[in-house]
Structures are given as structure tokens and as C-alpha cells.
Symmetry: C2
Subunit: 221 residues, 2 copies
């Protein structure tokens, strides 16, 4: 499968790109608003994988071109860039599945808090910006980027997948489970995304307040 | 330590009562709005523990009397009874620590959703209703009642403890870790309670949508 990571130069994009390239045979395409930046990062990822004995080709393209080539398009961008990013690639999506991992948070003196958009969740923002007919799936919201991008680190985490299109959800769950140490769990329809996104500030708060815990994910058990 | 479980006849109260009585030497007092009901439940818990070879005395009292005898008072009541329950025992709290495990949820056709009160969280509702000077701690929000009350079941869960009083939080964390298979993690100040409470509807949604998973808790890792 061909996976485009829009904003694939950022931290969560880096982790997903490296893991998919390392653990699966999927084709990874790094997207960025600037094609040059995407290409440079793609080379960097290739070099890192090469140093681990993995010879893979990773393309780096402008977001729209990356999206045009992909079966699955992951918007690995901050929540405040999500709508713009989806709108900028809308004409190129074709039959692709759109996957949103973004979470909106605000920080105050007490800690991190979930910043729920009026539409219900950040994942639903992506769905609102997507062309009609494009299946939108929420996944990868609760993965600590640092650990995800460290290929020496074991994950042993769950990721919750939400969406209204059963087939699209199954495809994304399979992609998720292609990453070693990641279990995909069904969180139900897109309308349940807020509860998934709200877990991310909790992970950060727990990591900040407990010695020895950092870069946290969760396991449901 | 003497622990009063207000609403200790309900499902989460039952689980905490049985676990503390089974796993620790703390004195457990079951509270209810009706003393008779509390006494009957306390006898039921005693009988269950007795059948496991544990001879323990569990008192059953009206909530206010239960609170008056306790070092730690857990309001194991639904969110919509929380303020009333705290106000009804306010004069009896003395130096006790008040612990709130309640979560507000609403359910629609998609699933369960966090129902955040205007004051920020249900735990902060408890704090608002508590007398000045009573330390309020949030804990035990994310424990599936069914598994908690089944003494044959292993937990292997984390519980997040939030609060503004460091000593009270340490006491409650210690109580939590007295329960076998439960790890207490610091979630920071009381203002971080919403993110903890919001995890509960997610646990329910995940349990509903994944075969073989039920009565879920989480482990941060």
C-alpha cells in the first residue's frame, strides 16, 4: 500500500514513516508544504534505515503530489493546520482514505488539557474539511512521538481507531498493526473521537508528574 | 487506616470495599443513605470474604456516621449525587481526606461521552462541595467495577491520582497501591481531573467495539 504522510517532516510523521518503512513493505511518501524539505527529510529517513540494514526508497514531495500517489493519506500536522492541509490536497485524494492523528491541546500552569473544537473533535474537523466520499479515520492520536521515532524502542501500545466507514477502518487498523508492538482497537464511530484525543493530554500530564515515566502510551487491559 | 465508602453499596464501592478488605489491613466502613442497606451490604461483603478464608469486620452505617469514623472518605456515588452526598457529610469530615472517583458521562447512539461539568470536572465538583480545609483527591475513576468486585480477577491496572494537597495525594496513592495489581500514578493538580475522567467513556467505547475485551482498565507504559 502507498502511504502519504502529510507533514511527514514533523515528529509524529517521522515516527510513522520510519516504523512503516522499517516494519512493513508499504511504500512511504513524505509530504510537506515545501517539496525540498520533504525530499531532504525523506533522504534522512532513508539514511537512518540504511544504517539499520534496511534499504528502502522513501519519496519526498509537496503535500498535494504526495496525496495524489497514495492509497492512505495521513495528516500528520498540528490541529491548527489540519483544515488547511486537507483543503490543499482535496482535489488529489481520489479514492484514498484520510487518516487524522491530530489532537488539540492547551497548556496552563496545571498541565495539558484537551481543547475540544466546536465540531466535536479534531478528527471531525478533518472529516468536515474532506471532500464528500472520502472516508476519514481517526488513529495514532495517543503515540508519544519521541518513542515512536526511536526504532530501538519497543512500543507495546494500543492505538484506537475511529471512523464511520467500516472498510476504511479495517484498512487503517491493519496498517497500524503492521507496526511492531502496536495493537489497533476499534473505538467506534467518528463521533467517539473526542474521548480518544482527550487521552493525549493525560499521557503528557502523567509523564510530567511521575519519575521514570516519559514518552507514554497506553495499553487497554 | 479507616476508610469510609459512601455509596459503598454500589458497584464501584463494592469493588473497593472487597479489595481493601481482602488485600490490606485497613478498616472498611460501608456507607449508604440508608443505614439498613449499608449494614446488609457490609454483611454480604463479610460473607464473601469469609468464603475466601478472610475473616474481617466490615461496618455498615449511614453515610454521615461512616464519614465521622474515617480517615479517608471515598464518595463512591454517581456524579449527579456527588454534591448532595458531600454536603450531607460535611460536618463529619473533620481531618479526613475526601476522595472522588465519580465520572459524568452521557450516552448517545454513537457511544459514551464525557459530560464535563462547568466547574471543570466532577472531581472539582466534589472539591467545591467540600468544607474549606478538607483535602480533596481524585482517584479510582478508570476502574471497571465488574472486574474490581471480582476477587478472582487480576487487575494489572493504573489509577491516576490528582489533587492539590501533596500529603493527601500520597496517602491515597498508598491506599490505591494496597490493592493488588493497582499502580497509582500522579496526574498533577485537581485541575487535571477532566482528562482522567474522560478516559472512562473511552474504556467503555473500546470494550463495546472489540470482541473479547470487557471490563477494561489501562496501563500507562
Amino acid at each position: 500500500m502507498d502511504i502519504a504522510l502529510l507533514g511527514g517532516t514533523g515528529d509524529i510523521g517521522e515516527g510513522l514513516a520510519l516504523r512503516w518503512a522499517d516494519d512493513t513493505n508499504h511504500t512511504v511518501i513524505v509530504g510537506s508544504r515545501e517539496a525540498d524539505k520533504a525530499a531532504a527529510k525523506a533522504e534522512e529517513y532513508e539514511a537512518e534505515l540504511d544504517s539499520r540494514g534496511q534499504e528502502v526508497d522513501i519519496a519526498g514531495l509537496a503535500n498535494a503530489e504526495a496525496a495524489a500517489q497514495a492509497d492512505v493519506v495521513v495528516t500528520a500536522v498540528p490541529a491548527y493546520h489540519l483544515t488547511d492541509t486537507v483543503e490543499a490536497v482535496a482535489d488529489e485524494l481520489g479514492d484514498a482514505i484520510l487518516v487524522s492523528p491530530a489532537v488539540g491541546m492547551k497548556r496552563d500552569e496545571d498541565g495539558f488539557h484537551y481543547n475540544r473544537p466546536g465540531v466535536g473533535s479534531v478528527t471531525q474537523l478533518a472529516a468536515k474539511a474532506a471532500p464528500e466520499g472520502t472516508p476519514v479515520v481517526g488513529a495514532f492520536h495517543n503515540l508519544a512521538a519521541g518513542r515512536l521515532a526511536d526504532l530501538e524502542a519497543d512500543l507495546d501500545w494500543d492505538t484506537i481507531v475511529v471512523g464511520d466507514d467500516r472498510d476504511a477502518k479495517a484498512t487503517v487498523s491493519e496498517l497500524a498493526e503492521g507496526i511492531e508492538g502496536l495493537r489497533a482497537l476499534d473505538g467506534g464511530p467518528l463521533a467517539n473521537a473526542a474521548e480518544v484525543e482527550g487521552l493525549t493530554p493525560l499521557l503528557i500530564n502523567v509523564a510530567r508528574h511521575n519519575d521514570g515515566l516519559h514518552d507514554l502510551g497506553v495499553q487497554f487491559r
